[in-house]
């Protein structure tokens, strides 16, 4: 089966006044395969949410795509007319669970009415009753209470609101779900409920794959099949969950794993290290490998030239040490 979504050498910059550009995504090549959860991880400001916005076609000025392409379902998404993308892709093939999904629902509208609007938008001949029935059936299937349909958003708890958003996003059985920090504003038990819901959607074949954007690596350990680690607008390492979590190769991935709390025996006595230094300013990123100013294993090459990708099996690493 073909990849569901592919980004080729994608560059997306924020253009500020005075011609300053923030290179939030700077040459990312990544694919989302069928039947997988792809984790996209990295520190705050590494460009992971920007990447999510571009591949879900929800980017707005001042964010501009400078170069590269995104292909899905045989379409060149970035060159697709806006109206066609809206009709054929958004919500139907690619759907989103937004960052800050707490306020994602219109506060003066019942959930039911949004479901109707959304379904009728894509299937104009569907009656209101059919739309409500479909939404109700889906809620039952996912063992969520039916009452959310007649509720206003403020009548739902935070976790329930988030799960409602996920159900609404997947009403049309989209192939791809792009979830940007879907659990970051929730307490631990609501987080679990959200994760369980996402897994059920995959198991029931309602959606095919998830791109899961988060800074919480422990979460990815539970859900991801593959993980892509981003640093300063670029990918540093992509591989299977086991490879990235247990045998990281790139110094940044190693440092990231070293700063993570895992409730496991060997970690318990270990001291948790932060990564020294701060991420670079993306207005003017460092030459060569972008991680070199903070890297403990840097060699001369790192400051001069960007490391090319090195692929072994499922893993690709962008580091001079691998060459």
């Amino acid at each position: 089966m073909k990849n569901l979504l592919e980004a080729q050498n994608l560059k997306a910059y924020y253009r500020l006044v005075d011609g300053i550009q923030i290179r939030a995504v700077d040459g990312v090549t990544l694919e989302l395969r069928p039947n997988e959860v792809l984790g996209i991880a990295g520190e705050s400001g590494c460009g992971k949410s920007t990447l999510a916005a571009v591949i879900s076609l929800t980017h707005n000025p001042p964010l501009h795509v400078i170069d590269g392409e995104v292909t899905a379902n045989g379409f060149d998404l970035l060159r697709l007319p806006k109206e066609q993308a809206r009709r054929e892709i958004k919500g139907k093939y690619i759907s989103v669970v937004p960052q800050g999904a707490m306020n994602a629902l219109n506060p003066t509208q019942r959930v039911r009415n949004f479901a109707i609007d959304m379904l009728q938008e894509h299937q104009p001949d569907m009656t209101k009753q059919d739309a409500v029935d479909l939404a109700r059936a889906r809620l039952q299937e996912l063992s969520l209470p039916e009452r959310v349909l007649t509720s206003y958003p403020h009548e739902l708890s935070g976790g329930m609101k988030q799960r409602t958003v996920i159900v609404l996003s997947t009403l049309l059985n989209p192939k791809v779900l792009i979830a940007d920090e879907p659990t970051s504003a929730l307490d631990v038990s609501s987080q679990r409920a959200v994760i369980r819901l996402l897994m059920t959607l995959l198991d029931e074949q309602i959606i095919t794959s998830i791109a899961f954007i988060t800074h919480e690596l422990p979460l990815l350990r539970q859900v991801a099949d593959r993980i892509a680690v981003m640093y300063a607008g670029k990918l540093v390492e992509v591989g299977t969950m086991e490879e990235i979590i247990f045998q990281p190769q790139h110094p940044y991935t190693k440092a990231l794993m070293g700063s993570m709390l895992v409730p496991e025996r060997h970690v318990r006595e270990q001291r948790i290290e932060g990564i020294p230094g701060v991420p670079p300013d993306l207005k003017n990123p460092p030459a060569g490998c972008r991680f070199h100013p903070r890297c403990t294993q840097r060699i001369e090459w790192c400051t001069q030239e960007e490391p090319p990708p090195k692929t072994v099996g499922d893993r690709t690493t962008w580091c001079w040490l691998m060459h």
Partner: protein
């Protein structure tokens, strides 16, 4: 509670105006060559008639008692004209001037403001700047400018009044056309300012709503612009409804200057002359109408909000 406080203020404030209204009234008669002891008797008579010979607190209690019987008293300057009759004559003019003004200004202003916020670019730049300019002209200035431009130097419309001199209010086509002719300028001067103010408010609200998460989310799921605009317009409208109610509440007194500039026979003009003549009962009558209108408007808004905004309904029912 607010009502009693306002009514008391209505009573005391006019009495703080220096000057004895009855003396003025009597001295106007003196020009007719009446004997001075006769004038003194007339003065005493008037003082008794209007109850002004009593101490202030007795006057106040009497005023209150009469108010509950629906008696607003007798005007000093138009003696023996009843205040309630005078107000009844003036009220339709003010309502007929203000209600369409407010509604038209509100509707056009809101649509314009939402269009500015949504379209942006040149359209926004031009429309928003004009709205700012227009709404910042004091409305009486605009009234005077219009009066000069369209009535004095180019006499297209009459200079003032609600109808032509010599005609009498009646339900005939010629009278209605005549009244409409007199209506145009005051209507224009108030509406233009109202459109500007409403458009600015609506634009701000809609701009804010356009950046909210639910707008982004709806678009990400492929909802059409038409539907998203509907959400935004509705939510941005909510605070505007308060504005509408306040306009309705203050409409009685709000047109004071406009009515005066155009000598329009409404409550504003009536109040203006009453103040100039220190006509206590008439001032009280006019301010009472204004008080009632403001309170009523606020009350209706509170009720309307419950129907329109589910968040407020929940708060009112104590669900939150």
């Amino acid at each position: 509670m607010a009502f009693f406080l306002a009514v008391s203020l209505n009573f005391f404030l006019p009495r703080l105006i220096p000057g004895n209204p009855v003396k003025v009234l009597v001295s106007q008669m003196a020009t007719g060559g009446v004997q001075s002891d006769a004038l003194a008797r007339i003065y005493d008579n008037y003082m008794r008639e209007f109850g002004l010979d009593q101490p202030l607190h007795i006057q106040f209690l009497r005023y209150f008692a009469n108010l509950f019987r629906g008696d607003l008293g007798t005007s000093f300057m138009l003696y023996p004209g009843k205040v309630s009759n005078l107000i009844r004559e003036a009220l339709p003019w003010t309502v007929a001037l203000q209600v369409p003004t407010i509604l038209v200004g509100w509707i056009i202003g809101n649509v314009l403001g939402a269009a500015c916020a949504y379209k942006g670019g040149k359209f926004d730049a031009i429309a928003f700047t004009s709205a700012l300019a227009v709404s910042n002209i004091p409305y009486y200035c605009l009234a005077i400018i219009l009066l000069y431009a369209l009535a004095v130097s180019n006499p297209i419309f009459p200079v003032g009044g609600g109808y032509s001199f010599g005609s009498y209010p009646e339900l005939s086509l010629s009278f209605l056309l005549d009244a409409l002719h007199h209506y145009t300028l005051p209507f224009l001067s108030l509406t233009v300012v109202a459109i500007g103010g409403q458009a600015i408010g609506m634009r701000e609200m809609a701009l804010y709503e356009l950046t909210t998460d639910y707008v982004h989310y709806s678009k990400a799921l492929g909802l059409s612009d038409k539907k998203v605009i509907r959400y935004v317009f509705r939510n941005a409208m909510l605070p505007q409804i308060t504005g509408l109610a306040i306009s309705f509440g203050t409409m009685m007194g709000g047109a004071l200057v406009t009515e005066t500039v155009f000598s329009y026979p409404g409550i504003g003009s009536l109040l203006f002359t009453a103040i100039r003549q220190t006509d206590y009962p008439l001032i009280q009558g006019c301010t009472l109408i204004i008080t009632v209108a403001v309170l009523l408007a606020n009350f209706l808004v509170d009720i309307a909000y419950g129907f329109i905004d589910p968040r407020i309904r929940a708060a009112q029912l104590g669900e939150r």
